[in-house]
Symmetry: C2
């Protein structure tokens, strides 16, 4: 069975909130890496009562969303989203609407049998979710995959291959390490998109960290990078956010003496008021795959070579949808902190929040819903003296860490002719 009826978005003229007419957030296409969903012995259902806000409703001081920008793309496109009702898929829709840079001729949503046939309300009318089908996806100009790696592995190449295939921008880790497939943060290596129809979107932690790291690496060189992360529940999608907020409520309603009775289906342990120093599976070297992703992806995106040591500790903490990172950069050149600050202030997609006098620094509270990655606590490193910088970044995991980056890839490809 295949649904082909879709409504048509002629263009994006103004900003309006999109709402979903179905309450189903979990489907077979939901972006939960299998290796995150470790502990499924509890069979409790995941409520959607605590749905984090859409970026539309957020008022943050650093919010530099270009909400009123006119459509500027060279052409108008048929856009497909697989996993459109998941947390990342929803934000891809929001980013397309809010930014208004990519002119959308037609929008098509694809889902599993579980979501196919349901209707998603958008500002320009209802869009019915079609059952995913490779041929239907190939009819699009651009297809965003906001689903798990197994799905991408199975279908991404089939959607994009040949002259008449669609450009695929994949949010999973399926193709990130294939040498011939570009792994892209547009502000860093957007030019890599020119000659490929399949683009990998990086790991959220990597993308957020590199937004601040890359300008500094360009200015001072890099000998070594150390990172400690403070990762939000949204890394496990909407079910992760729901498990945190529901579990927290239950913990506070109880005697707060233990985590007994606090469900954890998504995370390995209950996350409320806890910290879990494991994200993704363990590797043989004692690091987790999430930590190695930061190493592998940073090297590939910044073209650093395999000899630059990059070490990460990836830690889940009880926050909702913005990741924070402590980053220490050992440099090749002597550090000038004022120059470092200037370089970051001039970097696209970065906002410097760094003023001890006014207690200004990055926080999830302010970074949530913002397109920009916040960077602050910029200082010369006590560990590496004149050749080191330490700083703190915060970025919205669903935006720079996923949806926004993917939409920016599409904008870059429109600009550089790769979509022609």
């Amino acid at each position: 069975m295949k649904f082909t009826r879709t409504s048509i978005w002629s263009a994006f003229g103004f900003v309006a909130a999109t709402t979903i007419s179905t309450t189903t957030n979990v489907n077979a296409f939901a972006p939960i890496p299998a290796n995150i969903a470790i502990n499924r012995q509890n069979s409790g259902t995941t409520s959607t009562a605590f749905t984090p806000r859409s970026i539309i409703n957020i008022n943050t001081s650093s919010n530099k969303r270009m909400a009123s920008a006119s459509p500027t793309s060279l052409n108008s496109y048929t856009i497909g989203i697989v996993g459109a009702t998941g947390a990342v898929g929803k934000e891809i829709r929001n980013c397309l609407e809010d930014r208004g840079v990519i002119k959308v001729d037609k929008l098509r949503f694809f889902g599993s049998t579980r979501s196919a046939g349901k209707t998603v309300s958008t500002k320009s009318g209802d869009v019915e979710i079609e059952l995913f089908d490779v041929d239907a996806a190939r009819e699009c100009d651009i297809v965003f995959l906001a689903v798990d790696g197994d799905f991408s592995l199975a279908h991404a190449k089939a959607i994009s291959e040949g002259d008449d295939g669609a450009v695929v921008i994949d949010n999973s880790s399926a193709f990130r390490y294939e040498p011939d497939i570009p792994l892209v943060v547009p502000e860093i290596n957007g030019e890599c998109t020119k000659n490929s129809k399949l683009i990998a979107n990086p790991n959220c932690t990597t993308a957020i960290g590199l937004m601040a790291l890359w300008p500094l690496i360009k200015a001072f060189g890099v000998k070594k990078v150390l990172m400690s992360t403070y990762q939000a529940s949204s890394g496990a999608g909407q079910p992760g956010m729901d498990e945190l907020t529901e579990g927290t409520k239950k913990y506070l309603e109880g005697d707060m003496k233990s985590h007994d009775g606090i469900d954890n289906e998504i995370f390995a342990y209950p996350l409320p008021f806890n910290v879990i120093p494991q994200i993704d599976k363990f590797m043989e070297n004692g690091y987790t795959k999430e930590e190695m992703k930061v190493t592998w992806e940073s090297r590939k995106i910044c073209d650093l070579g395999d000899d630059v040591p990059i070490s990460c500790s990836a830690v889940r903490i009880p926050t909702i949808r913005a990741h924070s990172e402590v980053i220490v950069l050992e440099t090749e050149k002597k550090v000038d902190i004022e120059l470092a600050r200037k370089v970051l202030e001039e970097a696209p997609g970065v906002v410097v929040k760094d003023d001890p006098e006014t207690l200004t620094y990055p926080m999830p509270m302010t970074a949530t819903g913002s397109y920009d990655v916040e960077v602050g606590r910029i200082r010369k490193s006590l560990a590496f003296g004149d050749y080191g910088i330490e700083f703190f970044v915060c970025g919205d995991q669903l935006l720079r860490g996923a949806a926004l980056n993917a939409v920016l890839v599409a904008e870059e490809m429109d600009k550089n002719g790769a979509l022609a």
Copy 2:
């Protein structure tokens, strides 16, 4: 006005929960450093509805508390506690009772005019809080100061000076950096207590981190230490814990779209589902005082010398009372990870929780209420190759980070004759 009536604890025979017959948690002696309480423009009251559990009621797998140990001290002592109803003061009482190592002849609680006259129920009867008075404190053998630095600066030396003064174990930062005053983690430099009547208890983050760092430094030497912290609300005492839990409840009851209306009197910003990359005031070098405490205190306690670089990023996260830390140690000797693990397994006050197969690692959920500091995620560092170890620690901020360490100092002094 001065209250001198106290009840007498003859000895500790068994473990029982102590309860406080007053609901007042905030008083002039509460352990809130003035520079943490930055933002007081909100005048909301701090409720005590969500009182974290006493360690008595906690059941953790790693709990190695010696609850049934018989009194073993050489003598019995009159013990004074200033700030006995604060979060640290309460745990000092609990540690004395639970461990049963120090024989208590008489227990005296001292407070401000606000708490003086109130009665604290203990297993051996009610103890009335006396108005603090230097002469009365001098009548004790050991006085624990669980109050702020200003109080300690004003009174600690007066209590301890002369042959007939009391031994003072001070939890504040007032004397930690005075060359002649020992700063002690008993398992590391307990012998320093022999010739001093005023002992400084270290910063919580430092004490917790050093429990795992010191055995590794002894085994492999140290060239450099980098630390990122995940610090709990208890670092700001009971009011900090209350502000987190009350604020979280309010956030969840609202629309979860912003932190508007979430009070923050104790922390600089609302902590629920947020991260605050600032603890204590900012220094000229861009680090905070909390971060510099880790540098200064680690060097002093481990006698490392001023040339060993130690760099910390201190970050407050929404957890209740256990701190976590990512630590990277650059070593002088080549690292053998199995030896590192063995050294940690044999270290007193440390429990190794490190098994990827069973997803065993340190977490606040398990470290809360435990005397031992949990260490795990032990691995050779990608940043420093054969000459580096990375690991993750979790320790109860109120126990190893404060009360337990202080009580262990008293036990050490009993053993080494410093109390004679």
